[in-house]
Symmetry: C2
Subunit: 321 residues, 2 copies
């Protein structure tokens, strides 16, 4: 299975910058582009190859990664549509996969597109926060669909393994539904806590400590970015309904019985059981349906191993049920 020769990273913030740093060297030629000239200067000064436009960056690249914020995606796709190599794999790093897929299908319908989402990041943003170790042991969702050309998906999965991350095969729809709960909910709740927690006056501001700080940590992230991780995700509405119902139930128990012990017990169990999951190594058939099922069961890929007669062996891990 061939490896990628030249990768273009469009958008050099925290994620794109970290990919640029992590993927450079090791036989892969990487070029970066950022529309902000100040960022581009910093990246060039740090010794990385940069291009003066997205169109120039993608020329000759067999892998193009869209790593700009969601509102920069449409103009970038319009710009690169005519310049993208016909064989290039196009991927992204967006938190939601539906918006990217819709835009790619609109502007570059023939692209070999694989949606990607590294579950890595901090509340910081920008190239100066970029870290080549950001993806170590991080899940990295990679979408599959019936028309996905599996060899290209596997080629990308191998690169993701090289970055230290754990490719999680999934579909666009399953990914966005899961993200509503594990990214959308935490952010909406952190924002609500950040706001309401401090509404009791200055005494509370001076008593707020660890639990307020960790609970509201991600409210430090740029609010327009957080909104793009939540907005227009239909699965977030019912997930919020469940949280509101749970909080309402706890509120009723507290008012009537005086205790929220049922909730604290259930929440603690959920969190600890999650931490204590055990995994086992498995071989995963190199077939779209098998890969999607592997991801649905909580598994990921650890290695893409070329074998005899062009046969590929996929090694993975999956939860012990």
């Amino acid at each position: 299975m061939p490896r990628f020769q030249r990768m273009a990273v469009l958008g050099l913030g925290l994620i794109g910058g970290s990919v640029l740093k992590a993927a450079s060297g090791g036989g892969l030629n990487v070029v970066g582009y950022d529309p902000d000239p100040h960022t581009a200067d910093i990246v060039a000064d740090a010794g990385f190859e940069t291009a003066s436009s997205a169109a120039k960056a993608v020329q000759g690249a067999d892998l193009v990664m869209l790593a700009m914020p969601l509102n920069g995606l449409e103009p970038a796709l319009q710009e690169i549509a005519e310049h993208l190599d016909a064989d290039a794999v196009l991927t992204d790093v967006g938190t939601l996969k539906t918006p990217t897929l819709n835009l790619v299908e609109k502007y570059i319908p023939n692209a070999h597109f694989v949606g990607g989402h590294p579950l890595a990041g901090t509340e910081e943003s920008g190239f100066l926060a970029a870290d080549p170790l950001l993806f170590r042991s991080a899940p990295w969702a990679l979408t599959l669909a019936p028309h996905t050309e599996l060899p290209r998906w596997l080629q990308l999965a191998e690169l993701i393994c090289d970055l230290g991350a754990k490719p999680v095969p999934t579909t666009v729809a399953a990914h966005d539904a899961a993200i509503a709960r594990v990214i959308g909910l935490p952010h909406v709740m952190a924002e609500a806590l950040a706001l309401i927690g401090l509404r009791g006056g200055p005494l509370g501001l001076s008593l707020a400590a660890g639990s307020y700080m960790s609970g509201s940590r991600v409210a430090r992230t740029r609010p327009d970015l957080v909104a793009t991780w939540c907005d227009h995700n239909p699965s977030l509405v019912p997930a919020l309904d469940e949280v509101i119902a749970q909080l309402t139930h706890a509120r009723e128990e507290l008012a009537a019985e005086g205790s929220i012990l049922d909730l604290t017990t259930a929440g603690h169990d959920a969190r600890i059981n999650w931490e204590n999951r055990q995994f086992e190594p498995v071989e995963v058939p190199a077939a779209t349906a098998d890969l999607i099922e592997h991801g649905r069961l909580g598994g990921w890929i650890t290695a893409v191993v070329p074998g005899e007669n062009g046969r590929i062996t996929l090694l993975g891990m999956r939860p012990i049920s």
Copy 2:
């Protein structure tokens, strides 16, 4: 102003153990007691003085700190009632001040009681997690009431400063109302997130990352302890109502407009403004009403300075409004 000579710490978990470690030495004689013999052995093996009962621990102590979980408070007060020195200051470290006050008034109505609450801790518990530096720069609420004998309060405030913490003067009622928002809400929301965030199936469990982890961190704490920080606090009910209303509004905006940008902007502003508060040094009159007002405005004490003619100067910090 005299300093305390001998302190008894009853309950040697994370908070009591950290106080034992931080207060030992420096001219203060400290004795610890824990009802769990295994804990008591560990503490004694670490070189600290321990007593074989709460009654023995408090004999001869001019400061007694109740540092057991809330459910251990009633038997401890019953046990020490007959043995506590008539002049001793009694304090506690509980998250809510009303339950302690009610029990003290029931069992030792003549006690010189000052409610205390260090806003320090981790999701860990037990003496093995105790850390003498736990209180560095941590707010430490100290309650005042019309009948509080100010010299004793100041004596305790000075010790709290010595531990590295920031004494925040407040009343029992104002404290518990503030705690509903900055301790109660973060814990209830963390428990709800821990539970609902993972309800989407195993794919979500493998994609949960930083925002889920920090948002649900305090759900790792023993659930019975968390319940005692929330239960029977009447201020938590309306605070939960506000959070539920805020989440419901965000849910409606998301369903109707497709965006939660209003919430993310407001939450981000609240959190960042909190981080960016500025403070200025002030002198605080050594009078109960002035101290309560100083705490209400978000201030704390930095030093208790004895002056001429037995006059006390209180130095503090307060937010610049």
